[in-house]
């Protein structure tokens, strides 16, 4: 299926990368210059041409002025992880970063630049192809207004790329008219700008390039969405009514998406009232306090934050764990510690989430890999939190959270009913002789809750972070305290019954008949890179089974998977092998058996990184790390 090949061009020594639907193109822009919507337009046009596409924003912690990039992987084979290892086409619109951008182009690749001024001689390489485009000339000629010049410059290079890569203009025209459906006046000038670029490049260069796009029908009913949007929408579908949050990159758009969808779906125009409340808190501590307060009252409530926010919320998480109040926390991870790299991705909050707060605490964690998961697991999170009466932390990351990801369409079953857990109604209280909030009457370690205001005489109790007995009466008696702690632990061990199972993919046997002795364990956004790496390794004769974790605590199948394989590779995006620590701690397995494959430079994981890291561990130094 792979069509990418590196071949030499006929007469001269200069190589040319030739490929249909299998390449990486990167846009080098200036932050705040309006390039984002044009770049999205480009990525979406590939998607609409029926070809799998994975765009990624690489941006600084800055509002305006610093370099920013948009990297798009086009992959007919359907590989959506970062490819890594240089780009095939660089669209250079930022003189600031040009020197490093030109170095990133693979030999035989293309460098598209604004040739209004001659290129600095230092930017010249013998092994790549230069495509000059008089961007500034065109915008100066066509537009009076400086702002319009800036904005349309972006659309003009998209038009040029359409010619160079053979993307059909009508596909982009349609996207533009959809984008500006509510501002119709903007449709025509955008379509015209598109043609300015299209025509200009056709006059000066032969089109299309050896790298090009050919329409396919490979994306089916898939959607493109950010994980954060999917989480926000999931919370609306889950019936969350109170969202309390504090702005922090990269999670901010979760609360914003919740508000956007709720304002469309849960607003009563007649009375000008909302069936939801979004509270921008004064800090993350307050956000978590609000979530706990609302859930205490039986309103589904959540917050979204990133690592620094989780640190601030830990005291409250301990309270919710100990007092058994449901709470949902979406942690869109970024590179830590401390402020770290706020706009770079990582999976660095595993330990600080699973064991958040002082004393003996353990929290249920979920790990979505794509927007489909983000939506589904957000819905699940509320059921799990209410069923187990405990905080549920969903760990996504910047990579899935803030980038448009191609994903299976979101699913909803209208027959599904929320699991609101064990909450007693006034009628049920009536029938009970003596209510004990922490009395395990069913023997499943989950006592019944009551909500404030339910019954005039029965069910009231004092929720507290201090030790209490089965009837919620304060006590410092060691036995009562210990009984309670043991029950909480037993509840934790039974939690997998309510959690999504890991996804296990068995390779079967290799050609030589060997069963897999290697098992890869991974989670979250590492999924696509690992799948791609395993494809490459299997093509090279390796036999590998995979286990994608979706939740902590672990199902028995995780232990079985580890026992079943001679070598386990735990692949994660942090320095300290945090998930490996959790596996060791929770499953008591042999540390020597769990080998770490780590990547934590802030960039998304790629298949080539996985392969480079596992090669020495698997003793397979001769394998190429890309398809």
């Amino acid at each position: 299926m792979s069509v990418q090949q590196k071949s030499s061009s006929s007469s001269k020594a200069k190589p040319v990368i030739s490929s249909v639907n299998e390449f990486v193109i990167k846009f080098a822009n200036v932050n705040g210059s309006g390039s984002a919507s044009a770049n999205t337009l480009f990525a979406k046009s590939i998607f609409r041409s029926g070809i799998p596409v994975a765009p990624r924003n690489i941006f600084p912690s800055n509002i305006q002025g610093l370099p920013t990039w948009y990297e798009v992987r086009v992959s007919e084979q359907g590989y959506l992880a970062k490819r890594g290892g240089g780009v095939d086409i660089m669209v250079s619109v930022n003189p600031q970063s040009m020197m490093e951008d030109v170095q990133e182009v693979l030999p035989g690749g293309f460098f598209v630049y604004d040739d209004t001024k001659p290129l600095d001689i230092r930017m010249l390489r013998r092994d790549i192809h230069y495509i000059g485009l008089p961007l500034t000339d065109i915008t100066n000629r066509e537009y009076e207004d400086a702002r319009l010049r800036q904005l349309f410059k972006n659309v003009i290079y998209v038009g040029a790329l359409a010619a160079l890569l053979d993307i059909k203009l009508d596909v982009i025209d349609k996207l533009i008219s959809e984008q500006f459906a509510k501002k119709e006046k903007l449709i025509k000038p955008n379509c015209e700008a598109l043609r300015l670029g299209f025509d200009a490049v056709r006059e000066s260069h032969s089109c299309p390039l050896a790298i090009r796009v050919e329409a396919r029908d490979l994306v089916g009913d898939k959607i493109m969405m950010t994980g954060n949007s999917a989480c926000g929408l999931g919370a609306v579908y889950a019936g969350a009514t109170v969202a309390a949050w504090y702005p922090i990159t990269p999670s901010t758009s979760v609360a914003e998406a919740f508000e956007k969808y709720a304002s469309q779906l849960r607003y009563d125009k007649e009375t000008d009232t909302k069936r939801y409340a979004v509270i921008q808190a004064e800090d993350e501590l307050a956000a978590m306090g609000m979530v706990i307060g609302a859930n205490w009252n039986g309103a589904r409530s959540f917050t979204a934050t990133s690592g620094p926010g989780v640190s601030l919320m830990t005291e409250f998480l301990g309270l919710a764990y100990f007092a058994e109040v449901p709470a949902v926390l979406i942690d869109v991870q970024r590179a830590g510690p401390s402020t770290g790299m706020p706009t770079r991705t990582q999976q660095g909050d595993i330990l600080s989430s699973v064991y958040a707060s002082h004393g003996d605490t353990r929290h249920v964690c979920l790990f979505p890999a794509d927007p489909f998961d983000c939506f589904k697991l957000t819905v699940d999170a509320f059921d799990i939190a209410e069923r187990l009466q405990t905080p549920v932390i969903m760990l996504t990351d910047l990579d899935v959270g803030m980038n448009d990801c191609m994903s299976n369409p979101l699913e909803w079953d209208d027959n599904y009913q929320y699991d609101r857990g064990k909450v007693l109604s006034a009628k049920e209280l009536e029938e009970i002789e003596k209510f004990g909030r922490y009395n395990d009457v069913d023997g499943d370690n989950i006592p019944y809750r009551t909500l404030p205001g339910t019954h005039p005489e029965k069910g009231a109790f004092f929720t507290r972070g201090t030790s209490r007995d089965e009837f919620a009466i304060y006590t410092e008696k060691g036995e009562a305290y210990q009984r309670n702690m043991e029950r909480l632990l037993a509840k934790w061990y039974s939690a997998p019954d309510y959690l999504p199972e890991p996804v296990i993919t068995r390779s079967g046997k290799s050609a030589s008949g060997a069963t897999a002795s290697h098992g890869f364990i991974f989670f979250g956004t590492s999924r696509d890179a690992v799948h791609e790496a395993v494809d490459i390794l299997q093509n090279n004769g390796q036999v590998i089974d995979m286990l994608q974790l979706l939740a902590v605590p672990f199902h028995d199948s995780v232990r079985e998977f580890i026992n079943m394989h001679d070598h386990i590779y735990v692949i994660e995006q942090n320095r300290d092998a945090q998930m490996r620590t959790v596996l060791m701690n929770e499953l008591d397995c042999d540390p020597l058996k769990l080998r770490s494959v780590l990547h934590y430079d802030g960039s998304p994981l790629s298949a080539s990184v996985v392969i480079e890291r596992v090669k020495p561990l698997m003793n397979i130094e001769n394998i190429q790390s890309s398809n």
Partner: protein, 350 residues
């Protein structure tokens, strides 16, 4: 402290409009020190709720951490309570209110809980004009950790060990006025006559209602030189039984005409200067309220009573546009947009 609470009640205790006797509003026995101002406040809350004929189970009690925050156990036993984390009661109350605006929220906090660790949350709950009674049981010290100064201890006030507090104090009443509180009052735990009507008014107020109650700590801040003390022990200790001896005391009361400054004689003969809201002070006028507060401070007096009230400002529920039906009682049908709508959303993402 007492360790026994008599169960006997007079058979003909008076009932309120809902037919409840006062006992329906009581709580567990207090574990605070005998004579603690906080217990008088609990009694005032019980009295006020009884007089208001509130349904006990439709009240929610919220608190932070500290002596004050323990006290919700000692009143309204038929109400749910939430003893949360130190200084963070306002956020819990905010979330609880957003989830169900149909309950009466009584928040109990202390000077450490509100003016130190919880200063940020205090300020923000004021801004949000959350519909609740926010009671600060203010004794100027940390009781449970044995009497350290709190941020409301006055400059120049002496600690139990004789150290003079060099720092400016935080007056929560002044702060609340500055950041837009709509009901601001100060009272004294021994002045039930003033406190009960204030509590009733605060509960009835639509919006955030602060009552800063000077509530002397009989154990750690009750010595000569403390500005939040009953100032009597020193007069009495000739027998030597001063420290750590907390005798059973009768309730401290004060009776006076409205609009007058009074030196209140405490049960042991010590004095506390109190000034009632002055007749010329109009609690409906913010500038007058700020002036009155400042004037009383300059005179070395403690201004009590209703200091400021604004009934016009929209409350939290109004600002948030939350509908009449509490959010926690909305059904899945009212909350979930359903599969057909999701298909449309999917289509818009292609």
């Amino acid at each position: 402290m007492s360790y026994f609470k008599p169960q006997f009640r007079h058979p003909q205790l008076p009932t309120n409009e809902r037919g409840f006797t006062r006992t329906a509003y009581e709580g567990l026995i207090s574990t605070l020190c005998a004579g603690c101002g906080h217990d008088s406040i609990s009694a005032a809350i019980i009295q006020a709720c009884w007089e208001l004929s509130l349904e006990p189970h439709r009240i929610a009690k919220v608190s932070g951490i500290g002596c004050s925050s323990k006290s919700p156990t000692y009143f309204l036993n038929k109400s749910h309570g939430f003893n949360s984390v130190h200084g963070r009661m306002p956020s819990v109350a905010t979330g609880a209110f957003a989830g169900n605006h149909d309950l009466n929220y009584i928040g109990v906090s202390g000077d450490g809980d509100s003016a130190s660790i919880g200063m940020g949350q205090f300020a923000h709950v004021v801004r949000r004009n959350l519909n609740m009674l926010y009671m600060v049981e203010n004794n100027g010290c940390y009781g449970l950790t044995k009497g350290q100064d709190s941020a409301t201890a006055d400059e120049g006030s002496k600690s139990r060990t004789g150290q003079v507090n060099p720092f400016e104090n935080i007056d929560l009443v002044g702060v609340a006025l500055e950041i837009g509180a709509t009901f601001v009052a100060r009272s004294f735990s021994g002045d039930k006559q003033q406190l009960v009507p204030l509590i009733k008014a605060a509960i009835a107020h639509k919006g955030f209602a602060l009552i800063d109650v000077i509530s002397p700590c009989v154990t750690f801040n009750n010595h000569h030189g403390s500005t939040k003390s009953y100032d009597y022990t020193r007069e009495h200790v000739q027998s030597g039984n001063i420290v750590d001896f907390v005798p059973s005391r009768t309730e401290i009361t004060a009776n006076y005409e409205e609009g007058q400054t009074h030196s209140v004689q405490l049960h042991d003969g010590s004095m506390l200067n109190l000034a009632k809201t002055k007749p010329e002070h109009d609690p409906g006028n913010l500038r007058a309220a700020v002036n009155a507060l400042q004037a009383s401070r300059e005179e070395g007096e403690i201004l009590t009573g209703l200091i400021y009230i604004d009934t016009e400002e929209p409350d939290f529920k109004t600002m948030m546009k939350i509908g009449e039906k509490p959010l926690n009682s909305l059904s899945q049908d009212e909350l979930c947009p359903g599969g057909e709508r999701l298909e449309k959303i999917n289509a818009s993402l292609r």
